[in-house]
Symmetry: C2
Subunit: 129 residues, 2 copies
């Protein structure tokens, strides 16, 4: 049985993928993959997702150039989440210009505070803020 | 506006939560929270989820004693995923006896290879394998 047959996709045919920065160990983003995205990622070792908003296959970085080269793929005990360790081609993974999408932290005051600095200009990379 | 009003729950009223080991930086597990689980987690700073299989609120560690003390909570640019940095009370987060649920790695042969060692006896902790 291959790796693929073991995976559990949800009712929408998707599996959650957690992307970890191989350089820092930080979680960069969480996205989703359909069957084709999983297979493309394994074949090319470049992170490829399913865009739920655009309903299309999405090679991360196809617009910004900030691709994610995959070094290792893990799965969890339930085989319903994937974890990718990647090297970023480019400064960041977040479409708002941060290295990680997880740049907002819950403060003692009970709101989300931005705790990281922008590392690139998202308008230059994506043509939008 | 409080932190809570900003979050985006899915059609099932759930938000994905990635749990990171504050000691090692490793991703321990991915689970889901409903509104009550988010509020309980913030109020108690002990990780509380929604069990989709049991359809009940689930204080992680309530059976095994391996609770997760939350140090920091982050969210991403879309506000639809939470990231918890935790300290484990106990040896591991995985119900199969591993520190992390992400203990299987895709091998060159194309199957999932167990690449971590068990750190506790799951049968003793949970009464099942």
């Amino acid at each position: 049985m291959s790796y693929f047959d073991d995976l559990k996709f949800d009712a929408q045919g998707l599996i959650t993928a957690v992307v970890v920065d191989d350089a820092t160990g930080d979680v960069l983003m969480v996205a989703h993959m359909n069957a084709e995205a999983v297979q493309r990622t394994v074949e090319t070792m470049v992170a490829t997702f399913w865009s739920r908003s655009r309903q299309t296959l999405w090679v991360k970085g196809e617009q910004s150039g900030h691709q994610q080269v995959v070094h290792a793929i893990r799965t969890d005990c339930d085989k319903d989440v994937l974890l990718l360790r990647v090297t970023l081609r480019g400064p960041g993974a977040c479409h708002k210009g941060f290295r990680s999408c997880f740049s907002w932290q819950l403060s003692d005051a009970g709101d989300w505070q931005l705790v990281e600095e922008q590392v690139f200009d998202p308008q230059a990379a994506y043509g939008r803020q």
